[in-house]
C-alpha cells in the first residue's frame, strides 16, 4: 500500500510527463490550472492517465473544487 507521500510523488511525476514539463518542476501545493495553464477538460484528460496508472476509477465529480496536486492525490489515495 502506497503512502500519501508516494501517491503525491507519482501524481506529480505523471503530470510532468503528461503535460511535458521538466521533472521536478511541480510541487504538491501547486495550483495545476494556474501553474500548467490548463482548462478543466485538460485536467480531466490527466485524470484518465492517473486512473490507468493507479488502477482505480475516479468519477469526474472527484475533481470538483480540486486545483492542487496534494488534494488530488488524497482523493486518489482514498480509493486505493
Amino acid at each position: 500500500m502506497r503512502t500519501l507521500e508516494q501517491t503525491t510523488a507519482e501524481v506529480l511525476q505523471l503530470a510532468c510527463t503528461h503535460f511535458k514539463v521538466p521533472a521536478g518542476s511541480l510541487a504538491p501545493e501547486d495550483d495545476f490550472f494556474k501553474k500548467l495553464g490548463i482548462d478543466s477538460l485538460q485536467a480531466l484528460e490527466m485524470l484518465t492517465r492517473l486512473e490507468n496508472h493507479f488502477g482505480i476509477e475516479l468519477p469526474d465529480y472527484e475533481l470538483q473544487g480540486v486545483s492542487d496536486f496534494r488534494t488530488l492525490a488524497s482523493r486518489i489515495q482514498s480509493r486505493l
Partner: protein, 571 residues
C-alpha cells in the same frame, strides 16, 4: 410540427409521451465505455411512478419544491418526471457548486426534498452549519450509496419506492414549473421562476428549427441543470419520442467515442468543449502526409463551395466520410451557445460539413432566444430569433448597437423572492438582457459585449463579481471590490472577459509581496473559473450610498478614466 397547445404542464406532456412512445428507447446511460442502462419509455415510466408515489406518501404535493443535485444520468430524468407528476416544482442545482453554495440555494429555494448522488451527499454532509440552516429540506434521497453506508438521515433513492399507483397532479400553464439559478450564489441568488408555459412554448419553438423524432439520438453532456440541456436533453426529445444518451463523464476521449458508438444526431456544447473537439481534429489533420493533406484540403474546399448557401448533409458525409464517420455518420447539428464562440471555430466545423448552430441562450429567457438556422450558415452572428421571440435593441447608437431586449411567452415570470431585481430586469414586459447587440439587415443578431457587470466563461457559467467578493473578506486593505474588466472598459467584443480586484489601500500602504500573497491565497480558494486575473489600485475612497453600499456605477466611471493596460496589474 410539434403541437403542445393541448397541454397545460410539463408533467401532462411527458405523461402522454411515455404512453405514445412506450416501446421506443428514451434513455441510454453510458459511463466511459460501459453502458449502464438502456430504457424504453415504458421502462422509464415503470421506474418513475413508484418514486412519485413514495414522494406523495412522504407529503410532497402540488407546488412543493424538490431539488436535484446530480451529474447527468438516468435517475436525474426519472426523478424530475416524478416531481412533475406530483405537481411539484423542480429546482435543478449545479452539481459543480460547493457544499456551502448548495445549502444556501436549498434554503433560498425552500426545497423540501433533495435528490442527490452519494459522492455529492458525502460532501454536503461535511457542511453541518449549512445543513442546519436549510432546515426546510426534510426528505433527502441519495442514489448509488454503497451498501452499509451511514447516510446520516438520508434515504436510498433505489429503496424509496411504493408500488401502488400515484395520482397525477395537474398544473396550470402559468404555474411555476421550475426554479433555475442562473448564477449569483453570493449575496443575491438569482432564482429564475420558469413556468410550464415557458417550457411548452420554448419546446415548440426550438423543435420547429431542430426537430426530434423517434430514432433521433441526442448526446447529453452539458449538465441537465443547465436550461438548454433540460430542454434539448430531456423535455424536447421526450415529447417527440427521441433518445437521450447520457455520458457520465466529460473526458474528451469518451465524448469523441460516444458520437460514433451511439450514432448521435444532435449535441449541445459550450465553446470550451467545441474547441477541444476542434483541437483533436486539427491534430489529426496535421498528421496527414503532405500528399494526403493536399487531397483533404481540396475536398474541404469542394464541400465549402457546395454548402455555401445551406448544409447538404448527404454530400458532406460522402465527401468527408472519415470525418463524419468519426462523429457516427448521423450528426445533423452541433448546437452551441451559452457563451461566446469564436467564429473561426464555427467555420472550422461548417467547412467539414458539420453544421454548428450557434445560438444565444439565457436562462431568464427560457433558454434559446436566437439560433442559426443555417440558411445560410453565418459564423459572425448568433442567428435569428426563434419563432415567438420578439427581439429589439434598446438605446441603440449610430451603428445600431444597444441593449438586447426580449419579449416572449418563454420569458421567466421573475426572480424568486426578489421583486426589485425582477422589476429591473423585466421592464414593461421586455426582458433586458444586459448584452449589447445589433440586428443586421438579414435579421441576424450580432453580439458585441455586455452592459452589465458580469462575465460568462467558456464553460457557459455566469459570474457576477459581487458574488465572489466574500472570498476576499478580511484582506488587510482599506476597501476592495471586484469588477468585470470589460464592464469598466467596454469593448466591442465578447472575448477577453476577466475579473479584477479593485483595492483602496490604507494611507501609506503599498502593494507588497505579502499583500499579493494574501490576495493569491484567497483567490486560490475560489473555483478556478471564478478567480480574479488582475489588481487595480484606486487612488480615492470608493463612493458609497448613505447606507454605505459601494456606488458601483460611479466607481466604474472613475476607473474607466484610467488606461486599462496600465491600470490592471498582474496578480
Amino acid at each position: 410540427m410539434l403541437d403542445l397547445s393541448g397541454y397545460s404542464s410539463i408533467g401532462a406532456a411527458l405523461q402522454d409521451a411515455l404512453e405514445t412512445y412506450a416501446p421506443e428507447i428514451c434513455l441510454i446511460e453510458a459511463d466511459r465505455d460501459r453502458e449502464n442502462h438502456r430504457l424504453t419509455y415504458r421502462e422509464f415510466k415503470k421506474r418513475a411512478l413508484p418514486l412519485a408515489k413514495a414522494l406523495q406518501e412522504a407529503g410532497f404535493g402540488s407546488g412543493d419544491r424538490a431539488a436535484i443535485i446530480m451529474t447527468n444520468q438516468s435517475k436525474w430524468l426519472i426523478s424530475a418526471y416524478a416531481i412533475f407528476f406530483c405537481g411539484g416544482v423542480l429546482v435543478p442545482l449545479d452539481f459543480k457548486l460547493t457544499p456551502g453554495e448548495h445549502w444556501q440555494l436549498l434554503k433560498h429555494s425552500g426545497s423540501s426534498v433533495l435528490i442527490t448522488e452519494h459522492p455529492i451527499w458525502r460532501q454536503l454532509q461535511g457542511d453541518t452549519s449549512g445543513r442546519a440552516a436549510a432546515c426546510n429540506v426534510r426528505t433527502i434521497l441519495v442514489t448509488e450509496a454503497p451498501p452499509g453506508d451511514d447516510l446520516a438521515g438520508a434515504q436510498r433513492w433505489e429503496d424509496f419506492r411504493v408500488q401502488s399507483k400515484p395520482s397525477f397532479v395537474p398544473r396550470q400553464r402559468k404555474d411555476v414549473a421550475s426554479i433555475v439559478y442562473s448564477s449569483g450564489t453570493g449575496g443575491r441568488p438569482k432564482g429564475c421562476m420558469m413556468t410550464h408555459e415557458n417550457y411548452l412554448e420554448q419546446c415548440v419553438a426550438l423543435t420547429s428549427v431542430y426537430p426530434f423524432w423517434p430514432g433521433v439520438r441526442y448526446l447529453s453532456i452539458l449538465p441537465t441543470n443547465h436550461a438548454i440541456d433540460f430542454m434539448v436533453g430531456f423535455f424536447g426529445p421526450f415529447t417527440c419520442g427521441a433518445t437521450v444518451v447520457h455520458l457520465r463523464t466529460l473526458r474528451p476521449e469518451y465524448v469523441r467515442e460516444a458520437f460514433a458508438k451511439y450514432k448521435i444526431t444532435y449535441v449541445s456544447l459550450v465553446p470550451l468543449v467545441l474547441k477541444n473537439l476542434q483541437k483533436g481534429l486539427q491534430a489529426r489533420f496535421d498528421e496527414l502526409s503532405p500528399g494526403k493533406r493536399r487531397v483533404f484540403d481540396t475536398v474541404v474546399s469542394l464541400n465549402k463551395a457546395f454548402t455555401k448557401d445551406r448544409p447538404i448533409l448527404p454530400l458532406s458525409r460522402m465527401l468527408l466520410k472519415q470525418v463524419h464517420d468519426a462523429f457516427g455518420g448521423q450528426l445533423r447539428a452541433i448546437i452551441v451557445g451559452g457563451a461566446f464562440t469564436e467564429p473561426q471555430t464555427l467555420q472550422f466545423f461548417y467547412d467539414l460539413g458539420i453544421p454548428v448552430a450557434n445560438g444565444y441562450w439565457l436562462t431568464e429567457a427560457g433558454t434559446a432566444i436566437t439560433v442559426n438556422d443555417l440558411k445560410p450558415f453565418r459564423a459572425d452572428t448568433v442567428g435569428k430569433p426563434l419563432p415567438g421571440m420578439e427581439v429589439r435593441i434598446v438605446g441603440s447608437d449610430a451603428e445600431g448597437v444597444g441593449e438586447v431586449s426580449v419579449r416572449s411567452k418563454t420569458v421567466m415570470s421573475g426572480y424568486l423572492d426578489d421583486p426589485e431585481l425582477t422589476a429591473e430586469t423585466i421592464v414593461g414586459g421586455w426582458l433586458m438582457t444586459g448584452d449589447l447587440g445589433r440586428i443586421d439587415d438579414y435579421g441576424h443578431l450580432q453580439l458585441f459585449g455586455r452592459k452589465k457587470n458580469m462575465i460568462v466563461t467558456e464553460e457557459g457559467k455566469n459570474i457576477y463579481p459581487e458574488d465572489i467578493e466574500a472570498a476576499f473578506e478580511s484582506l488587510p486593505v482599506k476597501e476592495f471590490c471586484v469588477f468585470a474588466a470589460n464592464y469598466v472598459w467596454p469593448k466591442r467584443s465578447m472575448v477577453g472577459e476577466q475579473l479584477m480586484l479593485v483595492l483602496r489601500l490604507e494611507p501609506g500602504q503599498s502593494l507588497t509581496d505579502d499583500l499579493r500573497r494574501a490576495i493569491a491565497e484567497r483567490n486560490s480558494r475560489l473555483l478556478n473559473y471564478k478567480r480574479i486575473h488582475g489588481i487595480v489600485l484606486s487612488k480615492e475612497d470608493f463612493p458609497r450610498t448613505a447606507s454605505l453600499k459601494i456606488k458601483r456605477s460611479v466607481l466604474a466611471e472613475r476607473l474607466a478614466m484610467l488606461d486599462r493596460a496600465a491600470a490592471v496589474l498582474p496578480l
